[in-house]
Amino acid sequence: MGARVITITSGKGGVGKTTATANLAVALANLGKKVVCIDADIGLRNLDVVMGLENRIVYDLVDVVEGRCKLRQAMVKDKRVPDLYLLPAAQTRDKTAVSPQDMVALTSQLRGDYDYILIDSPAGIEWGFRNALAPADEVIIITNPEASAVRDADRIIGLVEAEGRKIPTSLVINRAKPDMIRRGDMLSVNDVLDILSTPLLGVIPDDEQIIVSSNRGNPLTLDNQKTPASEAIRDIARRITGAKVPIGELERKKGGLFRRLARLFRRSKA
């Protein structure tokens, strides 16, 4: 048993996989969990930057796979939280330097000692995505409330399903803008769920503080900062650990017919 390996992926680039991985890892560690995150985006690594651990990297994932160092030597400890480690990606190598089997072997070495292994997947559906998916026990799909991101998420969910391992998959909608949704200018949470029919793990609002914190290498979930995004991410972390955290106003989803009736009702009152 041991760790749960959770792969964070999206299909479309730039929707917030790395941001979510870094912040969830910190939030889980703050809940007292032992956490490793693995940057599977070889050649375009940036999880280390967002986590603020770039300057501490000595070895990377490819060094481990090619036997130049031991696995533990490549793991960078985040000193700001109790039990958080980063296994960084190689910056200079091609993604084919690592195979799906390597990823399975590597995670199985770590499973015994940690509670969560989070894998930050590269964009796309090619090699890097295969690497990130191979060892996954669970998959978190990140999407934005935009048609193109949702399309790609749908494709990815189909590919995960096609894997045939029945990997539990859940959805995080990132960068939601409540007032745009209210005006009908952005896909609503229900619109996205209607298309993807995948369990919702949480909704992260669009939040400038995310950008500020990423630039400083200071994940928002580190201190007790209360911003809309950091609270949403902490809730998601608690849901991952199995806590029943109710889904907020923005995220609310009710069953098909009831939901429609409710919507109709609201409309008729307006």
Binding site: D154, R155, G158, L159, S197
Partner: protein, 231 residues
């Protein structure tokens, strides 16, 4: 008068019944003469060939199809009591039992067509059933019908020789009757395809999001694709 070959108009087009007696080469020649004698009357017709117990090889069937083809007549289906003939017809991708039951009801006396044995292996039209949502990037190709128990999401594609039935929301691209069968239909609980084709016709969904989803059937009528309530 020679009654070794009879022609009859049916709902599906033209039913050609060839008596089991006589040599095939003579009879197929006679069939061609009969059609030629009608000038362009049968041009564009879809022919169902009823052969009784006669055994035909694939090349014999292919030959008659070619000759009909040259006259603008399309060989569509073969009714036969011979497994060899049915097999040959299937190899040529001909239908081997086109609405046999309907035929039997409407025309059985005139045609002396025996009621078909209930054997889906032999008479059922081939098809594919998909018991999950077809997501973006998935494609299904089938020469027969396609049934999906789930949604067909935008970016998914279904191409079927026959009908397409979606027990869910249809938002992807579908092509029914892809081999040219204009009688093919597309049904869905919520019909909102990115693009819908039947045989050579093509349409896109009207852009009215307010409309309440209801089960609909798309079919070719009056030279265009129309959607009607599916009940």
């Amino acid at each position: 008068m020679d009654d070794s070959i009879t022609l009859k108009g049916i709902k599906e087009g033209l039913l050609v019944t060839v008596k089991p007696e006589g040599r095939w080469s003579d009879l197929s020649g006679r069939l061609v003469t009969l059609i030629d004698a009608q000038g362009s009357f049968f041009r564009g017709a879809q022919v169902t060939l009823s052969l009784g117990p006669r055994e035909l090889r694939q090349n014999e069937l292919a030959n008659v199809r070619k000759q009909l083809d040259e006259r603008g007549v399309i060989l569509k289906a073969v009714l036969s009591d011979s497994t060899a003939t049915l097999e040959a017809a299937r190899k040529l991708e001909l239908r081997t039992a086109l609405h046999v039951t309907e035929l039997a009801e409407e025309q059985s006396e005139a045609l002396e067509l025996r009621p078909p044995p209930i054997d889906p292996e032999e008479y059922g039209s081939p098809g594919v059933m998909v018991k999950r949502t077809l997501r973006n990037g998935r494609t299904i190709h089938s020469e027969g019908h396609v049934v999906v128990l789930g949604d067909v999401n935008a970016g998914a594609v279904i191409v079927a020789g026959g009908d397409i039935i979606v027990w869910g929301r249809l938002r992807g691209i579908v092509h029914a009757g892809a081999g040219g069968d204009e009688s093919a239909v597309v049904c869905a609980l919520h019909l909102a395809p990115t693009q819908l084709r039947i045989a050579g016709y093509i349409t896109i969904s009207p852009d009215d999001k307010q409309r309440k989803p209801r089960p609909e059937k798309a079919l070719v009528r009056n030279g265009r694709i129309e959607a009607v309530a599916w009940e």
